[in-house]
Structures are given as C-alpha cells and as structure tokens.
Symmetry: C2
Subunit: 327 residues, 2 copies
C-alpha cells in the first residue's frame, strides 16, 4: 500500500508518519511506500519500505496534479494554515485552505478520468466548522455556522469531500478533530495554546500563563488519539457513512479547572504553582465562542475512540513526549 | 437606490425586475436605477427610472469585477444553473454556481478595498442544501448534507456569504427558496417539474404527466411569494441574524394529492382528468430524497411569509399568469 501524507511536517502529520513508519501497517495491510509532503521539508522517519519526502504547496499551479499522479492508495490531507493566520490573512487562508483542498480533490478526479483511480482520502477537518451559540451538547446533525474564516474553509472542504465522494471520484472521510492537547513543542500564539501550555510547561518545570478562568470548558483529545482517529478513518467500512462523510470525533469535555487538578495529581502543588493567572479579555472572548461538548455518537459507533479522562491525556503526553518522567 | 439583479432573465429574476420596475420602491426607499444582468439579454420592463441590461457570465474573467464596479446598493444574486444540469455537467456546475458566486463576492470585497463599499447582497439559495434522511420537520439548526452537486454549490455559497458578511465586506442574506409552484411557462425536464405541470397544464386545458404517487409530500411557495421573500430580505434589520445569515424560507408542506384536490376546486373534474399517471421510477427515487417539511421559525419571526394553503398558491397563479381566468 502506498500512503501519502500531505501536511507531514505538522505536529499531527509528523506523528502519523512516525507511527506508520514504525508499524509498517495501515488498515490491516502492509505499507510499502510512504510519501511525505509539506510546504517545508518533512522529517524522514526510519522506515523499512520506500519513503520519499517532497516540498509542495497544494495551492500552487500543477502541484496537486503532481501529487495525484503518484496515485497513492490512501491520502491523508492534513495541510492547512491555522485559524489565527487564516483570520489575519484572508487571501492566504482561502488560497491554502480552500483552493489547496479543492485543487487536490480535482487533481484526483482528473487522474481518475485518465485511468481508473479511487483512493481513500482522509481530510482533517475541525470543530471550528461550528459556531456559537450552541446547545449543551452538539449533536451529529447540528449545523455548521463557523465563526472564523478557517472554520468556513474547513466546512467548505467537507462539502466538497462529500460531493466528490458521492460522485465516485474518491472515497472521502472527513474527521473533525477536537483541540489537540497536550501539544508538544514550545508555547505558540494560537488562542487555544494555553490549554496545552498550562500542562506541558509546568510538567517540564517551566512557568505557563493562564489567560481565562478555570470554569472554561472545551473539547480535547491527545495527539496519540488524533493519530488513532486518522488510522481508523483509513480502516473503517464506508458503507455505514452513506453520503454523510464528515464525522465529529469523540473527545473529552473538560474544564481548565479539571486540567489543573490533573496537573496536581501528576506534578504536585509545585507544578500547579507554575501557572500564572493573567486574564486576557480578547482570548476570553474568543474562547467563549468555542464549542464545549459534543455528542459524537456516529463516530463512536464506528469505533473511533478518544481519552475519557484528563489523566489519560496527560499520561499519553508523559509517555510519548517526556520518556515517562515528570520534571 | 441602485438595484442590481444578477440572473434577471430567470423566472424569479424576471418577476422581481418587473415588480421593482412597477413599484419603484425597495426596502421603503425609491429605486432610481435598475441593472438587469444575465447570460442572455434580460427583458427590459417599463420603468420610470434609469434601467440598463447587460449580458455577463459571472464565472468569466473580469465580469464580476465589472459588475461590482457599478457599486449597486442592493444586489440580488440569483444566477445559477439548475440542479439537473449541475449534476450532468460537473465542471459547469462548479464553474457557474461556485466560482461565479465566489468571484462576485470577491469582486465586491475588492471594490471595498478601493473605496468604502458595503452593499446588501441577497443570495438565492435552495432547500437542496439539505439531503435525506430527514426528521419529520427540518429545523433551522439542521445540518447541510446536500445530495446533489447543485446543493453542495449552494451550501458553499451560503458559507462564503456568511464569512464575507462577518468580515464586513458586504451585508449578505441567503434565502433558501422552497420549490416554486406554480412555475409559469412550458413543462421542463426538471425532476420537480411535475409539481407545477399537473396544475398549470390542466388549468390551461392541457394534459400533464404525474410520475409519482399522490402521497408524495414536498415544500412549496408561489413565484409571488418568492419575489416577496427577496424584497423582504432587502428590507429586514440584519442585527437579529447575527452571524447566521442563511434562512430557510417558510413554505407550504403539501402532498400531490392535496395539489390535485385544489385543482379540482378551481378547474373541476375535467381538469383533474387531464392528469395522466405515468409512474417513473427514477423520478420517484430522486423525489424520495427531497425534504418534505420545514420548521422555518427564524424566517417567520423575521416576517417572511408564504402561502398557507394550496388554494392560495393556485389563486396566485390564476391572478398573475392567467388574467384571473381558468380555461
């Protein structure tokens, strides 16, 4: 099986590539070839099969056609610019997140017109396709009224994915990822960054800033769970999806206060004391528009699994990023 | 006020143009100028103010920019190819229905970057943004899972309209029109054509074919109501919409059997006898995927009004198309 990951230099794409390279299997079949693509050179994990890395921007002329011409069996499309950047640069957001996806879908269709070709395509969507006000728990049939350009672009990607799948041009599955927590790496400027920062930094003996109240509730899954969602999306029987190809992934609904109590269990009071409260009105207002809880029955029935406690999320972080040890 | 109608040669666009030309008013303000645009030369109704007609294809390079440069105060965007054609010609559907709308929206934004410009833009969407299976009545928060490329293109148009409105580039309102019945003119090949044919033709003393059972239920409004929706969308206060700019219009949920009983009241048994039953499996299957009933509370609360009985729909047809007389 030839597997392509577009967006392989991103956090989740990198972990997915490492996982596939390590296990050498996807959807119960051996992976013989891995093609890793991003706008910057992706890392090349140790892999027993064939592996190639490419620098390509889906939104640039001809690039999507070049990728589709490789005729991978499974394509993970994770490439996007993030919410903050898509909001700050309107043109770039639509170019990368909308045109990039559409060019990829269309290039696959064009390949299929030359000679039969129908890959499975897994599209990383986002809970940003939803916009407040929300019911207490967002059902699988709740409408998409994104509150950001990023969310709009993801929602359009979902619609295109469904239509191209319905027309038989590829077998698409869109998965709406929860906020991934604990994100490894350094603190970033994303409005959602604090959810990870207040765990990751104190667990490493560093200070972190909390800009919102402890009552703030949100929807989470670990990087490990996110990789699991992607692998599972490549493996599931598509018949039960019928024409509804986009799925809200399961996750954990938890408050910042619950995060902090988890931190206390793993890192003690000394870790909790490293959280500095600096209320930020802008971030508080942005976060107030985010979803807090989903009833992700369809995905659960299809076998997608997330963590069910913040302890599990933090344990995954300690095992996967800290070699099992807390500072 | 300068009003532009894009798609002015279509059935609803033509009626809207005639109405605005006759009343000379929109949203409580005088209409000084009417710009009528379509891919074929629109009819030019008698009008006391300035009127111009243009042949333009929104999806052709530069055309959207030319239209936006006219800086109309209100733009009705009704231009689209219909469901059947968008399904038969994938490329043309995306070009006209998706690219055309996006080019228009973007051209308005570009005008605004040159000098402040923020028109009201009314976008004719469709209940085709919904796809089966449905609940008994589709609420205002039900999700969009279109079952056709046309519905996909309209759903994407809605998302773009919302985002461009949220960003302040124009004041958009998307209205999802019910199936318009009784459509004037000749029978056409649209799968939905029979809903109108079985009334219009017998009322004119002509035979009509009924391809489905009398139990089939669907969602209707008259051409007169559709024009009323468009006028009202130009007039409403936008504040209550907040970021949810797309509205399912009210309509009448009725069965084919109810249509036929209405026909009997207006045209007698001799009219009903002109309906020839020719069951068509393809049409039956297509129609089974269409919505049958909405709970259009938001639009009703905003003052949008449709007919509440098929008698009213047929009466509107007899008054507006038949000079008040039945054959």
């Amino acid at each position: 099986m030839h597997v392509m990951i577009i967006g392989a230099a991103g956090m989740v794409g990198h972990k997915l590539a490492a996982r596939l390279a390590a296990t050498g299997t996807l959807a119960g079949a051996p992976v013989e070839r891995l093609s890793l693509v991003d706008v910057v050179e992706p890392a090349r994990p140790a892999f027993a099969g064939a592996i190639d890395t490419r620098v390509a921007d889906l939104s640039a002329p001809g690039e999507a056609a070049n990728l589709a011409a490789l005729r991978a069996d499974v394509i993970f499309h994770l490439a996007a610019i993030v919410s903050g950047e898509a909001e700050a640069d309107f043109d770039k957001g639509y170019r990368i997140n909308l045109d990039g996806s559409r060019f990829l879908f269309e290039a696959i269709r064009q390949q299929g017109l030359k000679a039969p070709y129908k890959p499975r395509l897994i599209f990383a969507s986002s809970i940003a396709v939803f916009g407040a006000p929300f019911p207490d728990a967002i059902s699988d049939e709740f409408f998409n009224t994104p509150a950001t350009s990023y969310g709009t672009q993801k929602a359009i990607g979902e619609l295109l994915l469904s239509d191209y799948s319905r027309r038989g041009f590829f077998d698409g599955v869109g998965i709406r990822l929860p906020t991934v927590c604990v994100r490894p790496g350094k603190p970033n400027k994303a409005a959602s960054g604090f959810f990870s920062n207040i765990l990751r930094e104190p667990l490493a003996g560093q200070e972190a800033v909390l800009p919102v109240s402890e009552a703030v509730r949100h929807w989470f899954a670990s990087p490990r769970a996110a990789v699991g969602f992607l692998e599972h999306a490549a493996a599931i029987d598509l018949a039960p999806l019928a024409q509804r190809r986009n799925l809200t992934m399961p996750g954990l609904s938890a408050t910042v206060g619950e995060e902090i109590e988890t931190l206390r269990r793993f890192g003690g009071d000394k870790a909790v004391r490293l959280i500095r409260r600096e209320p930020d009105e802008t971030i508080t207002r942005i976060v107030a528009g985010w979803p807090t809880r989903f009833d992700a029955r369809r995905a659960e029935a299809l076998g997608f699994r997330a963590e069910t406690s913040f302890d599990d999320i933090v344990r995954a972080h300690i095992e996967d990023e800290l070699g099992g040890r807390v500072a």
